[in-house]
Subunit: 234 residues, 2 copies
DNA sequence: CAAATAGTGTCTGTAAGACACTATCCC
DNA sequence: GGGATAGTGTCTTACAGACACTATTTG
């Protein structure tokens, strides 16, 4: 990018100013991931938040989509993501994270629209408040149904990203509360990874990335489990 | 993103159409990475391509920047990257790859400009043709000098990305010709990693990711080295 | 022969996978 | 005690790191 001194109108080789070029609309679309529980309430698999689209008549088969909005003037992408989610969920995600830009000029028949795909993660509890709202659903990422645009690709990217993060660190997205047992942690990591993880190997790999917290888990049968928390209160 | 049936004007809750909203300009800025040789012509460290900016008068200290351009109508980001490079280099990079969007509304004093940072890689030979051109330089990524905007951050992201790729596979960006010795490969990987790599460990890790090619390397002193090539002609 | 580079044998330490065992709770 | 869950001991395998050795060329 060539740049000029401040407050000076930029003109290119053909003498046109910046404002003379056509500009695309910028959208943000967000895969809000969470965990879906099994019958006993334990984390089972990754779910993704969908919202009902203001669909016109017969296109009912594409009635659900990822939440998104257009970028407003003077707004950052992360702020646009949060704005698009605040209307749908009581608690906003912690840190919208960019995945990639979808830039096919013909991807949106409404015009020239670039979409910046984002990932956000919400704990299941934060999504309880909206579960019965008619305009939102949480579906398994394995079978999200037919989705418009590039939304299936966005979900795949988001899942890939979060799986990578969970292979490196214990619960980096704070799906668990501040204190938890190794069994809780393993259930979450298994749900994210989409496959069972070895009990003893998992424990040994995680122990030096956790700090021992005071107290043990009560309830249920069996020997009570030691509580742990993440390093440095993260 | 809500969507309408084809060829219908989209209007939001306030009845405004898509075109009524202000839209940002979209720029692409690219860190073109290559290898800088030492005195004997062996790859030593990662270099990045800079171009001279059409600087106005006294701002000479920011006279160099990453190549970039504005996105044109109907153009993909990758194509804009290639267009911005074709003017500067004889050979265009193989695959521009998105890094992230820089979206601070105040990052450019010319107006509202989002920049999509990209990574591209060129073999040193492909950059020979422009090395003496007055408007381009290749500088070490460790000490690129003062750069405008977010360009230093872009270079850091690009280096991080390419280092990750080179830890996984042998020369994924084709900095070497089709056939090469293990020693050639190790020199390239050491330059990318920025640190020396163990001779025997490196060899054993790479051997099963390569296919043996016919012939040995001639020249120099010492025992001639077996030639190898990448799997499946990639 | 010496010098130089290519390539291998092998030991050690670390860590994952797997299995079986011990520990401690509730009933 | 029985059932259930938490946590550990330990064997095997694999592999990175390290060092020293052998192999094959040029001069």
């Amino acid at each position: 990018m060539a740049a000029m001194s401040p407050h000076q109108v930029f003109r290119d080789a053909s003498g046109r100013s910046l404002a003379d070029y056509p500009r695309p609309s910028i959208a943000v679309d967000t895969a809000v991931l969470t965990l879906l529980p099994d019958d006993e309430g334990r984390p089972l698999e990754i779910g993704v938040l969908l919202v009902r689209r203001p669909t016109s008549d017969a296109t009912a088969r594409l009635a659900w989509a990822l939440p998104g909005t257009f970028l407003h003037e003077g707004e950052t992408l992360a702020r646009a993501v949060r704005r698009s989610l605040e209307a749908k969920a009581a608690v906003t995600g912690r840190a919208p994270q960019q995945l990639r830009v979808f830039d096919d000029p013909a991807r949106d028949n409404r015009g020239w629209v670039l979409s910046v795909a984002h990932l956000d993660v919400m704990a299941p509890a934060d999504l309880e408040s909206l579960r019965d709202v008619d305009a939102t659903r949480v579906v398994p990422v394995q079978s999200p149904g037919r989705l418009p645009y590039d939304h299936s690709a966005i979900i795949e990217l988001a899942v890939e990203r979060i799986r990578g993060e969970y292979e490196e660190r214990p619960d980096p997205r704070h799906l668990l509360p501040r204190r938890f047992t190794i069994a809780d942690l393993r259930a979450v990591h298994e749900a994210v990874a989409g496959r069972p993880l070895q009990k003893d190997t998992f424990r040994r790999a995680m122990l030096d990335k956790l700090v021992e917290a005071s107290g043990v888990a009560s309830g249920r049968v069996g020997r009570p489990a030691q509580l742990y928390s993440r390093r440095n209160g993260t």
